[in-house]
């Protein structure tokens, strides 16, 4: 278990958001590997490739060009090999409709992007820690809903 690392992916078209995200994980004392993709098409191409290692948790921006977060979510949920990935929606919107809709479509986590770096680190640490408990303790993933 000591050698395990947590495999994390972010798909977000905003360059600054991607940078903040990877910086935040570098400062957290967690054993993580973070990969980022610039839009939904890039992300799905990767996940669909034969030798892709599925992440433990996937952070998905809702508003992306070419393929939106919702479209990715639907494709992932319809796919057998990706169904184990915990999906975290990572969005600037905090509308109740968006939140409930994405949960109903199968997202596990909904995060409103925090405005400052300190808050971001705190939120990401908490999300990854709770997700890790689901991953390592055979908790029922169908019942895993978390809103931050």
């Amino acid at each position: 278990m000591e050698n395990d690392y947590i495999n994390i992916i972010l798909a977000d078209d905003d360059r600054d958001d991607r940078l903040f995200f990877t910086d935040a994980f570098e400062e957290l004392r967690m054993n993580t590997k973070v990969n980022t993709y610039n839009d939904g098409v890039e992300l799905m191409d990767f996940l669909n490739s034969d030798d892709a290692i599925m992440p433990n948790v996937l952070f998905l921006d809702l508003n992306m060009p070419k393929k939106s977060g919702i479209e990715c979510l639907n494709e992932i949920k319809a796919s057998g090999k990706m169904s184990e990935i915990a999906i975290a929606i990572y969005s600037t919107s905090a509308s109740e409709e968006d939140i409930e809709e994405t949960f109903v479509l199968g997202a596990n986590i909904y995060i409103k992007k925090p405005s400052d770096f300190k808050a971001l680190k705190k939120v990401l640490a908490e999300v990854v820690s709770i997700n890790w408990q689901y991953h390592t303790n055979s908790l029922n993933k169908d019942n895993f809903l978390l809103r931050m």
């Binding site: 278990m1 109903v104 990854v128 408990q133 908790l139 029922n140």
Partner: protein, 187 residues
């Protein structure tokens, strides 16, 4: 038609263990709390075959001493939460340290070091997990569940649920039931 299913993880695990151990002709004795005693030395290839066979079921052979103790802490907590009759009115710190023969300080430090969470938080996660399960698979309402899980009040459970998941118990029920409706329409 819809079937509502309730299962007991301990029974399932025990059954899987027995089947796999028998298949590999290993002589064993199953002890309490996720411990299996092998009654004779087994060759490395058999050990590996067992480890792989169990992995398919999400069962992992825990190898080092720290991980073993952490796993025991988790097992005691899960048993404490899910078999609530066994522990009424016992403080969890006292219960853990009596059950495992180490001071609570030692157990709690070790636990935080290995699991990315604390013992206290792990207990809450398990209680919320049990609450979710009860909400979805029984007719109990939140007040009855709060009583069953030894909460001082329904408000306390409700607040803890919201703090832990970010959503209220009723929103949780509504979302899961919408998901089920959609899944049914697809079939």
């Amino acid at each position: 038609m819809k079937l509502f299913i309730k299962f007991d993880f301990n029974t399932i695990c025990k059954k899987v263990l027995e089947t796999k151990l028998n298949e590999l002709r290993i002589k064993y004795r199953i002890l309490a709390f996720g411990e299996v005693e092998l009654l004779e030395k087994i060759p490395a290839d058999v050990y590996e075959a067992l480890s792989n066979a169990l992995k398919d079921y999400g069962i992992e052979i825990v190898e080092n001493q720290k991980s073993i103790l952490v796993q025991k802490i988790k097992d005691v907590i899960i048993d404490m939460v899910f078999n609530e009759e066994s522990t009424i009115n016992v403080k969890s710190s006292v219960y853990l340290s009596e059950k495992l023969g180490h001071s609570y300080g030692y157990l709690s430090n070790l636990f935080s070091e290995v699991t990315y969470t604390s013992v206290e938080n792990f207990i809450i996660i398990q209680k919320i997990e049990y609450t979710k399960q009860l909400l979805l698979s029984t007719d109990l309402n939140l007040t009855e569940i709060a009583f069953k899980l030894n909460y001082s009040s329904v408000a306390h459970l409700s607040t803890q649920f919201k703090n832990n998941t970010g959503i209220t118990p009723s929103a949780f029920q509504r979302i899961i039931s919408k998901r089920r409706t959609i899944a049914q329409q697809k079939n």
